[in-house]
Symmetry: C2
Subunit: 195 residues, 2 copies
C-alpha cells in the first residue's frame, strides 16, 4: 500500500475541505467551529492542524480549491474549434451550471469574496485566475465581436449574471431549464456584442 499513501493523505485533507464547505454554507464562517469540521470530516480536531496552520488558512485554501474546481468545470465543456459566440455561450452556461450543481461552493465563495478574508488573500493568485477570461474578452473586442469596453468590467458583468441566475434558481422555486439558460446567455450576449 505504498502507492496510495499520498491518496490517503489527500483523501483526509479533501474530507476536511468538503466538510468545511458544507458547514459554512449551512452555518456561516462563525457558527462552524473546528470541532464540528473535525467531526463531520471524521477526524480529530488536532488532525486539521496537521494539514492547515489555522482556521484562516483552511478557509483561504478552501477558496483556492473551489476556484480550481470551477475552472475545470468550465474548461471541460469548451472546445477550441467553436466560434466565438459558441464559446461565450459555453463559458457562461458552464459557469452557471457549476453554481447550480455546487450550491455549497457558490455560497462559500460569495461569503468569502465579501468578507475581510479576501483582502488578506494574495492579489497575484486572483490575477492568475482572471487572466484567461480577460484575454478571451480582449480577443473578442479586437475581432469586433464585442463592443469596446474595459475588459474587467465586461468580465464582471458576465460573472455576475451567471451568479445571479444560479442564486435565483437555488433560492426560489424558479427552476431554470436548459432553454432558460440559453435565453439568459442570449440576453447577456445582446448586452455585450458589437452593434
Amino acid at each position: 500500500m505504498a502507492r496510495n499513501e499520498m491518496a490517503m493523505m489527500a483523501e483526509k485533507k479533501k474530507a476536511i475541505l468538503e466538510s468545511t464547505l458544507k458547514l459554512i454554507k449551512e452555518n456561516g464562517f462563525h457558527g462552524t467551529p473546528m470541532s464540528q469540521v473535525a467531526k463531520k470530516a471524521g477526524v480529530a480536531a488536532g488532525t486539521i492542524y496537521h494539514y492547515f496552520d489555522s482556521k484562516d488558512t483552511l478557509i483561504q485554501e478552501l477558496y483556492t480549491y473551489t476556484q480550481y474546481r470551477l475552472l475545470d468545470a468550465i474548461k471541460e465543456n469548451s472546445r477550441e474549434d467553436m466560434d466565438y459566440k459558441a464559446r461565450f455561450f459555453s463559458h457562461w452556461i458552464s459557469r452557471c451550471m457549476f453554481y447550480i450543481q455546487n450550491p455549497n461552493s457558490l455560497f462559500f465563495m460569495e461569503q468569502f469574496v465579501n468578507s475581510p478574508y479576501v483582502q488578506r488573500c494574495s492579489k497575484e493568485q486572483d490575477e492568475r485566475f482572471q487572466k484567461e477570461v480577460i484575454q478571451f474578452i480582449e480577443s473578442g473586442i479586437e475581432n469586433n465581436y464585442l463592443r469596446p469596453m474595459n475588459p474587467r468590467l465586461m468580465r464582471m458583468m458576465i460573472y455576475s449574471s451567471a451568479l445571479t441566475a444560479a442564486k435565483l434558481h437555488l433560492s426560489e422555486q424558479l427552476t431554470l431549464s436548459q432553454a432558460d439558460l440559453q435565453q439568459l446567455a442570449q440576453m447577456v450576449w445582446d448586452g455585450i456584442k458589437k452593434d
Copy 2:
C-alpha cells in the same frame, strides 16, 4: 428638550447601527464583538441590549435599515413624468451610486444575503421590498418596452449588474465616471429591451 427625546434615542440606536455596519465591513460578522460595537458607538455594552434583543436581532434590523436607505436613495431621483427608459436608467444608476457611496452598506448586505441569517429572516418583508420593482418591470413587459421574461429573473439581472459595477469601482482603481455608468446602464438596457 422634550421634543428631541425621540431624536436622542434614535440617535443612539442609529449610532449602534452605523457602528455595526462599519465594523462588519472591516472585520466581518465574526470579528465584530458587541464590546467593540459599543465602544465605537460611544455607549455601554449593556445599552445595546436595551435596543436589540441579541446580536442576531441587531444584524437583522441593520439589514432592514440598510434596505430602506437604499430605497429612499432610488426614489429620490425618480420622477413620475419620465418615460420608461429614463426611469430605468435613473433606477439603475441610483442603485449603483448608492453602493459606491455607501460601501459599508454594500459589503454588509452582500455578506448578509449570502449568510444563513437571511433564511431566518421573514420572507414577507423581502417580498415587500421587491414588489415595487417587480411591478415596474411587469409594466415594462406589458407595454412592450421589455422582452417577455420572468420579472424576478430580470430584476436579479438588473440588480446584479449594478452591484457588480459598484464592487469593481470600489475594489480596483477602475474609477467609473458618470459616463461609464451611462454606458453600463445602456448595456443592461440593450440586454432586456424588446428587439
